[in-house]
């Protein structure tokens, strides 16, 4: 019961996180591509409930930023004009989950733009860009993991079920893929794929490159399961009744590998999101004007940005809760399926 609770907890946590990113249009105050060239690199704004005179306001508000006297980069709050924040307000058009057209936003302001997490070089809202960038990064990670799991399952099933030289060959190749440092492998693969392509093609290329790199571990684990399952009585009985290979694999063997596949998926998805981030950060992934967590960080490669605009680092932190959630989910799954255990009792303490 306890394990089930743990699993549910992490699962709900992850679903909520994904909903925030999937519903980026609602949670983000602005269109991520909307520029305001007058306001590059604004620092994050503070939301107040108490004004400069010390009076309490029920409706939260913020002060627009202006350049400090005689400075080119120091900003201060313009306490003369308080701009109130409105919740569930109308703003820029967007399509919720890519389908439902809507104008409703969680919050927004009239009169001045609010930059909760600051603005970038073109005055685009950093919060909106992080939320929308998350869609690209997470989708790349999920699709990449899907490709990998499919490859891993097919290869693992084939190797385990047919055995013999096919098994030897496939497992040798898997060993090779396991041994190679993954980033080098990704680099090599990316190097031979076309370089300058449109955003959508670039995204698909990234998914393919990531998906092709990680299949070895799931394939080996699936093979291990298949090796034991195919000698079980119910499989032998089914074969005795004349079931075909495909039927056996699909109906009797594949379901037995579900636990391994699920656990592996939970481990791989965050890794692949990180892989997308890494590729895009290095300029090999999703290009501007599309935003992803990786290419949002790419501006940090300029020294001036690094020194002066610390809030450009915030997109990096967006992945941390996802890592936490997926790691928690993976360990809950592992405990549940008993593939990995160090019980608390097995330790030895000095008496």
């Amino acid at each position: 019961m306890k394990l089930r609770g743990k699993f549910t907890k992490w699962f709900v946590f992850l679903v909520l996180l994904h909903c925030v990113v999937a519903g980026a249009g609602f949670f983000a105050p602005y269109n991520p591509a909307e520029q305001d060239r007058q306001r590059p690199y604004l620092p994050p704004m503070r939301i107040h409930c108490m004004d400069a005179q010390g009076d309490l306001h029920l409706r939260p508000f913020f002060y627009p930023l202006r350049l400090r006297e005689g400075s080119f980069e120091q900003f201060e709050e313009d306490t003369g004009t308080a701009v109130p924040l409105y919740f569930f307000t109308r703003g820029a058009d967007y399509h919720l989950f890519g389908i439902v057209p809507s104008r409703l936003h969680l919050f927004g302001a009239a009169g001045a733009r609010i930059y909760v997490l600051g603005s970038d070089a073109y005055g685009r809202d950093q919060l909106s860009r992080i939320l929308f960038g998350g869609q690209v990064s997470l989708l790349a990670g999920l699709l990449g993991a899907g490709v990998t799991m499919l490859l891993g399952a097919v290869i693992g099933l084939a190797a385990g079920y047919y055995g013999g030289w096919r098994d030897d060959l496939l497992m040798r190749v898997a060993e090779l893929f396991l041994a190679l440092p993954w980033l080098y492998l990704l680099f090599a693969l990316r190097a031979f794929l076309p370089l300058s392509v449109g955003p959508l093609e670039a995204f698909l290329l990234v998914v393919v490159a990531i998906g092709l790199v990680g299949w070895a571990r799931p394939a080996r684990l699936v093979r291990g399961v298949v090796l034991t399952v195919k000698e079980r009585d119910f499989v032998r009985a089914a074969r005795g009744f004349g079931a075909s290979d495909i039927y056996l694999l699909r109906r009797h063997i594949l379901p037995e590998t579900a636990s391994v596949l699920l656990t592996q998926a939970a481990i791989l998805v965050p890794q692949f999101v990180l892989a997308e981030m890494t590729l895009s950060f290095l300029g090999l992934g999703v290009p501007e004007p599309m935003s992803s967590w990786g290419n949002l960080l790419a501006t940090l490669q300029q020294y001036s940005v690094l020194v002066s605009y610390w809030w450009m680092y915030l997109p990096a932190l967006a992945i941390v809760p996802f890592f936490l959630g997926y790691l928690g989910l993976a360990s809950a799954l592992q405990e549940r399926f008993d593939t990995y255990k160090i019980s608390e009792k097995s330790g030895w303490s000095r008496t």
Partner: protein, 324 residues
């Protein structure tokens, strides 16, 4: 001895496979690199013709592979278009810097992980163990890219460490001691990032395998014989737990090589990372192939070293290997 022979065979197989893989990647590229080279006015048609002949582009695939292998075996990794020079020396200079970083980080990470993991296992479930578990869990959810960038920002804002490059301006005029200090200061940040990224995984594995051994009957027997605690742990338990840990060593090397690639780019350390990245962006493909092969050689060498270490540390391996 037979064990070592088998491991060597395995290493050779890995290298062979990696070479085949990189060759296949390059053969799968749509079109030929030389098509793009023809558009470059800086490259003479004779160079292209010579390269085509060198790589036997008009021959069938297996023949080309053998020729390529032959060239690689002779240290001819190809020609860099962007640097207009042979690839091997180019890679070697950078590879030394990468090795400096990776080897230091590997040694440091293990030097920290072993005592921490053993300590944690010896107090399994106690407060220090729990604090350490929480710390490693926290580090585990911070990916290396996030960690490296965060450290870099910290360094830039505080000015505690020099950022970027490997040495300061005017390095040549410094005395040997100052040179060492300068290099160490420049290395501190990337090494720190690598160690922090590798540490949680290592500590957890050390803890798990030592905890498992500590529960074994032979250790309880040894303890009841009155053997001192420290000797019990470091003389007996650690040695018995060495097997999975030494296998982990090879794995950690691979992760560190990957991590180093990224950290080098982030902190502009003149290693293989920035070179490979430039090469990919400039479509300088022989540099990429060479870099991947070189990383594979490092990895295989590291794994072979781990195998020798295992042979030396674990008498069980020697006995099973000789009865085989």
């Amino acid at each position: 001895m037979r064990y070592l022979l088998r491991r060597t065979r395995h290493a050779v197989f890995l290298l062979f496979g990696a070479s085949l893989l990189t060759f296949l990647f390059s053969a799968l590229t749509p079109g030929s690199y030389f098509d793009e080279m023809r558009l470059n006015p800086q490259i003479a048609p004779e160079t292209i013709a010579a390269l085509r002949a060198q790589y036997q582009l008009d021959r069938p695939l297996p023949v080309r592979y053998l020729h390529w292998l032959n060239a690689v075996a002779h240290g001819k990794l190809g020609f860099s278009f962007a640097y207009n020079s042979p690839v091997a020396p180019l890679l070697w200079v950078r590879a030394q810097n990468t090795l400096l970083l990776t080897v230091t980080a590997t040694l440091l990470a293990w030097a920290l992980a072993l005592p921490l993991g053993v300590w944690s296992a010896a107090r399994f479930g106690g407060p220090p163990d729990r604090v350490l578990s929480w710390t490693t869990a926290a580090l585990l959810v911070v990916p290396d890219l996030v960690l490296a960038l965060g450290l870099l920002i910290l360094a830039v804002r505080t000015g505690w460490f020099p950022t970027g490059g490997m040495v300061s301006v005017g390095f040549e005029e410094l005395s040997p001691l100052q040179k060492f200090r300068d290099l160490a200061l420049h290395m501190a940040l990337p090494v720190f990032a690598l160690v922090l990224a590798a540490l949680p995984m290592l500590v957890r594995h050390v803890r798990a395998s030592v905890a498992e051994v500590l529960n074994a009957a032979f250790l309880r027997a040894a303890r009841s014989h009155g053997i001192p605690h420290a000797k019990l742990i470091f003389g007996y338990a650690l040695r018995a737990a060495a097997n999975p840990l030494i296998s982990l060593f090879g794995f950690s090397l691979g992760t560190l090589l990957s991590g180093s690639l990224l950290v080098e780019v982030v902190m502009s350390w003149p290693g293989l990372g920035p070179l490979l990245l430039e090469a990919i962006l400039a479509r300088d493909l022989y540099v990429v192939i060479g870099g991947v092969l070189l990383s594979m050689i490092f990895l295989v060498a590291g794994n072979l070293f781990a195998d020798v270490l295992l042979y030396w540390a674990d008498p069980r391996i020697r006995s099973t290997a000789s009865t085989e």
